[in-house]
Amino acid sequence: MSDAIVQHAPSLPQPSASALRSSRPAWSRWRRHWQFHLSVAVLAIVIFAASFAPWLSAYDPNGIDLGSALQAPSLQHWFGTDQLGRDVLSRTMSGARLSLFIAFCAVFLAGCGGTLIGILSAYFGGWIDSITMRLADIQYALPPVILAMVVIGVIGPNTANVIIVVTIANWARFARVIRAEALSIKHRDYVLLARLAGASPLRVALRHILPNVRNTFLVLLTLDIGLIIILEAALSFLGLGVQPPDPSWGTMISDGRGQLEHAWWTSVMPGIVMMLTVLAANLAGDHLREGTRLIGEAD
């Protein structure tokens, strides 16, 4: 099924990569990994634009100017304007800020929580393991959107709740994969020696197992960020995420739905930026995964 079987491969890049690095000229190295480098560049640009949106954008993202509503992309408004005359590029950048902030918070929380649960259930086993893995089953039993919708329905839609919900809907993959890896580490000699030396269980888990699952953690983080951006967009699109007037990519795409016929740019432009961001994150994640041999992770 969807849980991954992790083979013993704690090191992230292929062992031969560093050997190749010194013997190959820079240009052929670039050609070998051009997709990865391009993805990182795209991500860097998007993150930069998102971080400095208030200083970079020429217009106020929420500034209404009905006189210039629904203008097609032009030199003044690169991405056009929406039905209230707001500049779509400024809103896309401001939306990137919110969407990426939510995505980074959620992936970090889900990653840390899932990793901790994975390590503890691998190390202690027994009933802790049973309970956490059954909880993971529940998360897997419901598709993330439905799980997130139900929880949002209960606690109400706003930015903080979206982060909580997306975290709840995404921790289990971390827990399962990290648990599988921690199980394989648990019986290595250095862990046994640390226990013989009298280290407490918590110390073994945190000092000896945790550092060795770091690379898997980072790979899962990059693989998940795209999924999480999409999940946040879906929630906001349905009106269950970020609330207006603050733009996020999902709410912008949703706002533009009514104007598809005569002003397609209002929803297509932020959508394309989101697509490029997710594409870059996925390609970077795939590149890192190749080095770690996470088996059984098809999506």
């Binding site: 039993a141 439905i146 329905g153 929803s267 059984g296």
Partner: protein
């Protein structure tokens, strides 16, 4: 096999039970039903009576037991909004959703798998390049964004297909492609990766040395062994498709299960939400269970682990 079966049934039941606790707790977190379900002009005495009638003054374990026994009997209460049993509303919407998701699954299998095979057979050929772009795009955007692009291009721009609604096969085309693309991308990548690995194995080399025609080698010897993970993955996509269907149904005004959930959440109609969640959980658990069985039947090694 029987031991394996029992273990799987046991863990499915535990999952269901935990899920019911979770739903019970969440429904209680929504707020006081005496405030949610009564008109605002009701007096405090009315509310107290209402609480007594619903048994909200009983100890929590008693309330949970009662909750469990009613849902086991299929009684999910009446919809706050429509006044009819919540379960019947959910049942009405299940058909269109299943039609949409199963069609999308079929689309994903019939495009993703052949494309993956073609890509694996000739590395760096046209099909390989095409499948890489197809897969990368499919996984890069949520289904609802593709849905909007398709509506803009094929409905508004070219006028070929309706922009939304339910009824004929024309209404099905755009939602199915928009929804199924993501899964098609995953299937394509998985088929390609597995088949590539199998095609390098010793027994495939042996078959080629024996002079077996290449198409027989690929379709009979190799594909059979590469198919196993593909089958489970295809089945596991069902849950993802139901999730994606929520926004697709909203875009195309499709009268399904997902749009019902969005409407009910917006109307604070929690009995319907609760019924929908329990029905969908049950559906997923049954599907996962069937997939596990199927897997064990196809690959006898599994049940002995």
């Amino acid at each position: 096999m029987p031991a394996f079966l029992l273990r799987r049934i046991g863990s499915a039941l535990v999952t269901l039970l935990l899920m019911s606790v979770l739903i019970f707790v969440m429904v209680r977190m929504v707020g006081d039903p005496a405030h949610l379900m009564m008109p605002p002009e009701a007096t405090e005495a009315d509310r107290a009576l209402f609480r007594e009638q619903l048994g909200l003054n009983d100890p929590v374990p008693v309330q949970y037991a009662r909750f469990l026994s009613t849902i086991v009997r299929g009684d999910f209460g009446n919809s706050f909004h429509f006044g009819v049993p919540a379960l019947s509303i959910v049942e009405d919407r299940l058909g269109p959703s299943l039609l949409l998701t199963l069609s999308a699954l079929a689309f994903a299998i019939f495009t993703g798998v052949p494309l993956g095979i073609a890509a694996a057979v000739k590395k760096d050929g046209f099909a390989d390049q095409f499948s890489k772009i197809f897969a990368a795009l499919g996984q890069a955007a949520p289904p609802f964004f593709f849905a909007l692009l398709f509506i803009r291009l094929f409905s508004v721009g070219l006028g070929w297909l309706p922009t939304g609604g339910y009824g004929s096969w024309q209404h099905l085309v755009l939602p199915v492609i928009a929804l199924g693309w993501y899964s098609a991308a995953g299937l394509c990548r998985l088929t390609q990766a597995n088949l590539t690995a199998v095609l390098q194995s010793e027994y495939v080399k042996m078959a080629r040395i024996k002079g077996v025609p290449e198409h027989v080698v690929v379709l009979k010897h190799a594909l059979k062994n590469a198919a196993l993970p593909v089958i489970t993955f295809a089945a596991s996509q069902f849950g993802i498709l139901i999730g994606g269907a929520v926004s697709i149904e909203a875009v195309f005004s499709w009268p399904g299960f997902g749009s019902l959930m969005v409407e009910s959440i917006n109307q604070l109609d929690f009995t319907v939400v609760q019924a929908a969640v329990i029905v969908s959980t049950l559906l997923f658990i049954v599907i996962n269970f069937t997939v596990d069985l199927l897997y064990a039947l196809i690959d006898p090694r599994i049940s002995h682990v």
